[in-house]
């Protein structure tokens, strides 16, 4: 499903965000990516969706070589993934429901289906009551949950989440994790960047640890880290 071969990413200002990373993730896996602030986790994710291009190496997603893909195919690549962005990226002029619906409009889902599914998925993240609120009128955690709802509404092949619980309290976080687990059981590959030690430890899934752009650990059934 996801294959990084010797991938490096050096930003224009010289920051080395990824340093010769090789990693393989199978279809249906549930993987945590952990690491310190600035280690390169988000960069790892950005390479998957063609948001950034690798400085060297090959990134393959779902059989497609992402760093070679034609520009006009990028949207179709992205539709295979549901992405929860670290900075949410909600459309400021659309309501919560419209933001979620937008991901479905893009793939031209019939209006009726959209209405129903948007309602269902808002229910899953417990935000039906906020359907008509604009992002600026939502709390931080509510915005984050809208971002999550948008990522899962199309039942993507891959769910890629960059610290999706950073603004959520432990209870809500647990709810989201249950949701992700359920989605994973339905066959979706889940790749999740997180800082929530407790959760990683509890879930007992594959853990990839990045330090200074290098993968220093890749354990099946791992824990957050051994530091404490």
């Amino acid at each position: 499903m996801i294959y990084f071969r010797d991938v490096s990413k050096i930003y224009d200002n010289g920051s080395v965000a990824l340093d010769h990373v090789t990693v393989h993730i199978e279809k249906g896996e549930f993987v945590f990516v952990v690491g310190a602030s600035g280690a390169g986790k988000s960069t790892f994710i950005k390479l998957l969706s063609h948001e950034e291009l690798p400085s060297s190496g090959t990134v393959v997603v779902n059989g497609i070589e992402v760093n070679r893909i034609a520009k006009d195919r990028v949207p179709y690549l992205r539709r295979k993934m549901g992405i929860v962005f670290q900075d949410f990226r909600l459309l400021p002029n659309k309501t919560a429901a419209e933001n979620v619906a937008f991901a479905m409009e893009v793939i031209e889902t019939p209006r009726k289906v959209i209405k129903e599914r948007v309602h269902n998925v808002l229910d899953l993240v417990n935000l039906v009551g906020k359907a008509d609120a604009l992002p600026q009128n939502l709390s931080g955690g509510e915005q984050q949950r809208i971002a999550i709802a948008r990522a899962i509404v199309n039942r993507p092949l891959m769910l890629i989440a960059d610290e999706p619980t950073g603004n959520l309290d432990p209870d809500t976080s647990r709810g989201i994790m249950d949701l992700f687990t359920k989605i994973n059981h339905m066959g979706t590959t889940v790749l999740m960047v997180t800082h929530d030690k407790q959760m990683v430890d509890m879930m007992n899934k594959r853990v990839i640890e990045i330090v200074d752009g290098r993968i220093v650990r890749d354990e099946q059934k791992g824990a957050y880290g051994d530091e404490d």
Binding site: S49, E51, D72, V74, P75, Y76, R78, R79, I83, F85, R89, L90, L91, P92, N93, F102, A103, E105, V106, I107, E108, P110, R111, R150
Partner: protein
């Protein structure tokens, strides 16, 4: 709609209609929600086009005025004294056959004298001094369809045996021609320059409104929207924006030109003006089409750089 099909090459017609409806409703929603920017763009479009329109009408009228002046240039062909009526009529027929001649008018000696009296009424001494004699020749006045034929024709006609001489106020006419030339070319240059300046200012404004929404555009791409999916609502919004702006400009222009023509008709009746219809219909349509095109293009071209993600 060839491009539209790119967004849904696998879609069937029902889907296309639904998608189009989506684009339209998106455009209107965005128009409403970005009301400050919509207002700013419409106001700029309306004002700029109105200014452009005012100068179009001005230039058109100057041109019309120049035409009018040029068409009043006449040659006076003075006939020799003592030729027969047959000869006079023959000359008239010959003149009529000449190229570019619009009309000829015969002035006999008596009429010429009446005219002179009119002209000389400030200095009655002269007429008294003539003591009732009429030394004036009879003449033909020729007007032309193409003012450029004046000079040549004058030379040709002067050689007719029946003709004493031909005159056309050479200096004044040549000054007049160079003025009308300057008016024409200056006017055209002005309109071209103004058109481009207007287009630039309008598209600049629209580009700024797109710039203010650049993050939004990027987000759409990240969520899997194709370029055309993003572009259509912007295009329709721009079209609508241009339409409203152009319409306002047109309405203002109609009012303006209506006012000016009636005012001038009242106070300067002798000034020729291009009449309101169909001139205003043409100008109005041109402006409206320009504004819609620039609205649509302005908003979509400037999208490009923000869609590169």
């Amino acid at each position: 709609m060839a491009e539209l099909s790119v967004t849904n090459r696998k879609g069937h017609t029902a889907m296309k209609i639904r998608t189009m409806r989506y684009y339209t409703s998106e455009a209107f929603t965005s128009f409403r929600r970005n009301s400050f920017m919509s207002f700013a763009s419409i106001a700029t479009v309306a004002l700029s086009l109105f200014i452009l329109g005012v100068f179009m009408t001005m230039v058109a009228n100057l041109d019309y005025f120049a035409d009018n002046l040029e068409n009043q240039v006449q040659i006076s062909v003075y006939l020799k004294d003592g030729i027969t009526t047959d000869q006079v009529m023959k000359v008239g027929r010959e003149l009529k056959e000449l190229p570019d001649v619009k009309s000829i008018e015969f002035t006999d000696k008596a009429k010429a004298m009446d005219r002179l009296k009119e002209r000389m009424k400030d200095q009655p001494g002269i007429l008294d001094a003539l003591e009732g004699k009429n030394p004036l020749p009879s003449s033909y006045e020729i007007t032309f369809t193409n003012p450029e034929a004046v000079k040549k024709t004058a030379a040709v006609v002067a050689k007719y045996p029946e003709v004493e001489s031909s005159h056309y106020g050479q200096e004044i006419v040549e000054q007049l021609f160079s003025i009308t030339q300057v008016i024409r070319w200056g006017g055209i240059a002005l309109i071209i320059f103004l058109t481009f300046a207007t287009l630039f200012i309008i598209s600049n404004t629209i580009r700024l409104t797109v710039f203010a929404r650049r993050r939004e555009i990027g987000i759409m791409k990240y969520v899997g929207a194709t370029n055309w999916f993003i572009r259509w609502p912007f295009l329709l919004e721009g079209l609508f924006l241009g339409f409203i702006g152009g319409l306002i400009a047109d309405m203002a222009l109609f009012q303006f030109y209506g006012f000016v023509t009636t005012e001038i008709h009242e106070s300067l009746a002798f000034l020729p003006m291009v009449s309101m219809y169909p001139f205003m219909y043409k100008t109005g349509s041109v402006l409206l089409i320009i504004s819609m095109i620039i609205g649509a293009l302005g908003s979509t071209i400037s999208l490009k750089r923000y869609m590169k993600v």
